[in-house]
């Protein structure tokens, strides 16, 4: 078969998704529980500055701070940015303004969003108030958003400059949050691994030879890690190979449809400079041995060998594979 022009590199969706579970310290616990109860708490630093949202350590002195106070659900926009195209996960699905809001009684600003009809309806210095979420769980999203609020001065706010102390104690404190995160990628393995995967579709295994040290890498990643140069010389290896080392697996993995015990091994395909790994079948587990000659077994429609089985050849001499263990 003559070499075809290199096909386009493979691409496939890759979704990384995780529920980020975090525990809260006393200050964050009080703040987020407070949001659930429609109460906004701040923390007072040593010099009397009131931080909202509150933190456990003074950002200037690093002293531990626990002195909770209650501030108002109303405040003033300190800066803003109009977002005409909301993105996934953001608090509103209609166009909105990102805002930093200094709540009445606080000295620092909270990041959130403002529901407004358009950018002309937003300005720094604007008075706003919290719109609470209908269902609140103890999370920053318990604030659904801010909304414009017809009030000229912060003296109408509940706290003013003399924010009242708060115990931070509520029934059933929130002690942790789960913040789901999802990132979407389109993964491309690059030229070398694309060649490897495409060859597997024809039930062939290909590697790449280093032009400097002549070692053949399977699967190829495009570089020789010993010499630090590109590997571009494509080489077909196998199909048979030698079992260089193995282990016997006695614990059944969840979702894995293989009876234990089974053998998992390193297989140096003929012509390869390093071993691949795969399952060994077609032989009782207690008769498997180093040096066993094996060949791949393909199942219908599979993208890679299901397992490797003995070829029936005599075992390979130790010296022929000792560098590949």
């Amino acid at each position: 078969m003559t070499a075809a022009p290199s096909p386009e590199v493979l691409r496939a969706p890759l979704v990384v998704e995780f529920p980020f579970t975090r525990s809260l310290g006393p200050v964050q616990s009080a703040f987020l529980t407070g949001l659930r109860e429609r109460t906004v708490l701040g923390v007072r630093t040593g010099d009397g500055t009131i931080l909202v949202p509150p933190v456990e350590y003074d950002p200037v002195t690093a002293d531990e701070i626990r002195d909770l106070v209650e501030v108002a659900p109303t405040g003033t926009v300190t800066t803003w940015a109009w977002n005409a195209s909301p993105r996934r996960g953001q608090p509103l699905t209609t166009p909105f303004a990102w805002v930093l809001v200094k709540l009445d009684g606080a000295d620092t600003a909270l990041l959130h969003v403002l529901d407004a009809p358009g950018p002309d309806a937003v300005h720094s210095g604007q008075r706003v108030r919290i719109r609470w979420a209908a269902e609140r769980t103890g999370a920053i999203t318990d604030i659904a958003c801010f909304e414009p609020y017809e009030s000229e001065s912060e003296s109408e706010g509940a706290g003013g400059t003399a924010a009242p102390a708060h115990s931070g104690l509520f029934d059933d404190l929130v002690t942790g949050i789960t913040a789901p995160a999802r990132l979407d990628y389109v993964y491309s393995p690059g030229r070398a691994q694309t060649d490897y995967i495409n060859a597997l579709a024809d039930r062939k295994t290909v590697g790449e030879r280093c032009p400097s040290c002549a070692k053949v890498y399977v699967p190829p990643r495009g570089a020789c890690p010993t010499c630090g140069v590109a590997t571009t010389d494509r080489v077909e290896v196998g199909p048979a190979g030698t079992l260089t080392t193995y282990c016997i697996v006695n614990i059944k993995a969840r979702g894995l449809d293989i009876e234990v015990p089974y053998v998992y091994g390193h297989i140096a395909l003929d012509g390869a400079g390093l071993a691949l790994h795969g399952r060994i079948g077609g032989i009782p587990y207690d008769q498997v041995r180093m040096g066993l000659r094996v060949e791949p077994v393909w199942t219908e429609g599979a993208r890679f060998p299901d397992h490797y089985r003995p070829t029936g050849e005599p075992d390979a001499d130790y010296d022929t594979y000792k560098e590949l263990i």
Binding site: T78, N83, G89, R221, G222
Partner: protein, 348 residues
């Protein structure tokens, strides 16, 4: 203290996508280039340090793959920072200062094309109060830009001027992703327009650091690192004055930037508004040549763009176009972290 210099710098062409290349395939040419420039072999390198981010790749320990391009056998002394390569350079500089190595290879790379970098960068934010709102990197920069406009520090035409100057200068930079001026475009997040924001792309960079007189053997005019420092501010945006950058100012002071004037500044300012903040914090007058390379507005491979600022400043000294240059790198939202280095060439 030993004198340490940047003796070689290379960067890739920065492109919107590089699907045909794995990360190691993207990094290898720049590694080979800096070695070829110096005549050094892998075995001559005393310390190797890299910068990158697993979140860009969407894969754990992604940096280990690029080590294949370094030639890590026999075993080498190696380290990695999950940050821009400018911080990898800082670690290498300290390693050389302490005498634990005489030569260092520093590289960094980022492929933003597989994912959505605006979303990816939200994962570096405070996970309790901020990240659940998914404020993207452009939105946070826009809050800073509006604060500057409200304070009378800039306006939209001035920001457009920064964009036009940067991309105009990038016309002479063969590696730039956006060479030449282009329309400011529509608002991405108001007040920032497309033109105020960096391109999204893939790229890599590498430098070689050498201690002492050996630098003169490897490079006709080494770029001596006279000082380097990095500082961070409170991570809560609402605690900070977004119109200023006290961390950049302090880093510059500790790096010695204010002892004598600089003639060139390579600033890592991915957004036009951030150049306004940095010019003030770093006390750069109109006589200082800012971002002759085009800066991050012309090419912003995330995790490499800061290292490229150090490399561009060093290359300008090596070419004799600068005698004393300031190089700056940033990380985090709204210039949260800042690194400043002062580079000098000896009298010509």
């Amino acid at each position: 203290m030993r004198d340490i210099a940047i003796v070689a710098f290379a960067q890739s062409d920065h492109l919107r996508r590089t699907d045909e290349c794995s990360e190691v395939e993207m990094v290898m040419p720049v590694l080979h280039s800096v070695l070829a420039q110096t005549g050094l072999k892998t075995s001559d390198i005393g310390f190797t340090c890299s910068g990158s981010s697993d979140y860009l790749a969407g894969r754990a320990f992604s940096f280990t793959m690029t080590l294949d391009g370094v030639g890590a056998w026999p075993p080498i002394s190696e380290s990695h920072v999950e940050m821009d390569g400018a911080w990898a350079l800082y670690e290498a500089w300290v390693k050389l200062l302490t005498g634990e190595a005489d030569t260092a290879l520093v590289y960094s790379y980022g492929k933003s094309s597989p994912g959505s970098v605006r979303d990816v960068l939200t994962r570096q934010l405070d996970p309790y109060y901020v990240a659940p709102l998914w404020p993207d990197s452009v939105a946070l920069a826009a809050l800073q830009a509006q604060a500057l406009i409200d304070a009378g520090e800039t306006d939209e035409p001035a920001l457009a001027g920064v964009a036009a100057r940067s991309r105009g200068d990038a016309a002479d930079n063969p590696h730039a992703q956006l060479p030449g001026a282009r329309p400011q475009g529509d608002y991405l997040v108001q007040p920032l327009r497309t033109g105020d924001c960096p391109p999204i792309g893939d790229g890599a960079a590498a430098v070689v650091l050498v201690a002492g007189d050996r630098a003169r053997d490897l490079c006709e005019r080494p770029a001596w690192i006279r000082g380097m420092d990095h500082r961070i501010e409170a991570h809560s945006l609402g605690v900070r004055d977004l119109t200023d950058s006290p961390s950049a100012r302090l880093a510059a002071e500790r790096a010695g930037a204010f002892e004598r004037p600089v003639d060139t500044a390579e600033l890592h300012a991915p957004f036009t508004s951030q150049e306004v903040v940095l010019r003030k914090a770093l006390r750069l007058g109109d006589d200082v040549r800012v971002n002759p390379s085009g800066g991050a507005l012309a090419a912003n491979p995330v995790m490499a763009a800061g290292l490229i600022r150090l490399g561009e400043a060093a290359a300008r000294i090596q070419r004799g176009e600068s005698d004393r240059a300031l190089a700056h790198a940033t990380s985090g939202p709204c210039l949260q972290q800042n690194l400043v280095a002062v580079l000098e060439g000896e009298a010509q």
